[in-house]
Symmetry: C2
């Protein structure tokens, strides 16, 4: 099933559902862990686990998009990671999950028993390599949250989802509320930013959840170094 190991080098921490679809590549799990592994299916907008749940299994996205978020006591929510094919999540320092995990699309998730995973050398290697990718994505996200304007955040977000210049149509797997919670904005500000981009002719909203980037360079300029 898992032929090549370098699959772990695929770009990722990249939440767009179709982004890797072309190759339909399966993420890698070393043979010695195959038997400690389950794959489960989830529908869109289902919760995989909640913050505080006991963390006995490590998870990997086989297919689809997942978001990790944290809640403040008064209900404010921050999406802390967007995950796509191959990304790992659900490992924890202590015994509890430090944030909640919810699906953005229909998803297949592989669960790997935590103790077995800790024993498997090859899995540790894959895990560490994966985490690098997610580290960089989180650094970028911190810059976005700490230092970018609303417009810059939305533009950066679009670029993050735009597969390529020659693939300028994005199917947003997220509601405005989820986008807002990822970008540290309100739903109204996200909406106004989209409208402004539309007014300036940089994007076309083909459907509510379908964006065509018409002037890629202009979006790049707005994003201030994605």
């Amino acid at each position: 099933m898992n032929t090549a190991v370098d699959r772990s080098l695929l770009k990722s921490a990249f939440p767009f559902p179709g982004c890797n679809a072309a190759g339909a590549l399966l993420p890698e799990v070393p043979a010695d862990l195959e038997r400690c592994t389950t794959v489960a299916r989830y529908r869109q907008h289902q919760t995989i686990y909640f913050e505080g749940d006991s963390a006995d299994a490590i998870c990997q996205v086989v297919e689809g998009c997942v978001m990790l978020y944290k809640l403040l006591p008064d209900g404010r929510r921050q999406v802390v990671e967007l995950l796509g094919q191959g990304d790992v999540f659900g490992f924890a320092r202590g015994e509890e999950r430090d944030c909640s995990a919810e699906t953005l699309t229909d998803v297949r998730v592989r669960f790997i028993d935590r103790r077995s995973a800790e024993r498997s050398c090859s899995f540790q290697r894959i895990l560490a390599r994966r985490m690098l990718i997610q580290f960089e994505a989180m650094h970028e996200h911190a810059v976005l949250l700490g230092r970018k304007s609303a417009m810059e955040r939305v533009a950066s977000f679009l670029l993050r989802l735009a597969p390529d210049t020659d693939q300028p149509v994005i199917s947003l797997p997220m509601t405005r509320q989820e986008i807002a919670d990822y970008l540290g904005l309100t739903i109204e500000t996200v909406s106004r930013s989209f409208s402004e981009l539309k007014r300036r002719g940089l994007i076309v909203l083909e459907k509510q959840d379908r964006v065509r980037i018409t002037r890629f360079n202009a979006i790049e300029d707005l994003a201030t170094a994605c």
Copy 2:
């Protein structure tokens, strides 16, 4: 030199210089990597590397505090991680460092050759475990940047640095500018928040870089779930 392995479980991603000083514990490197390892010293406010430098060695803080930051083209800066004893940094997805590393205090850094590290199973294990800790810190940081008010950010920051209720005096290893760049605020807002806390009697500024928390609970309330 490295007797116990569980040292890697010590709390960390915790930037306060004196936080682990009591035990004077050295972070762990497996024996098989000892010879691929160098330890270097840096003075306060020295750059270890810049974003874009080639990433040929992984780094670990042996002693002191380090910050990782990214710059936007127009000079805006975001500090993306604060690191203390035992924390690892400088690994990269590609060939280049994704952010810059600068010392906050006098620092000792251990460099581990990247290729050797990738081959060492025990190091991968330590690395993965360390990264978990830093992951959680970064999630917390994203919540702070995306969803907390200025006051909440400053209160959370103080709690992060306060070793304990019975150790209420904090020596800030950072300038106001560095704090502002970590919290996603301006220097003025940080300063005003400190003044407000002082006015309300929750802290005393014994020196510019020395804060005594006088009403711990009140700070905790302000921080909104640290």
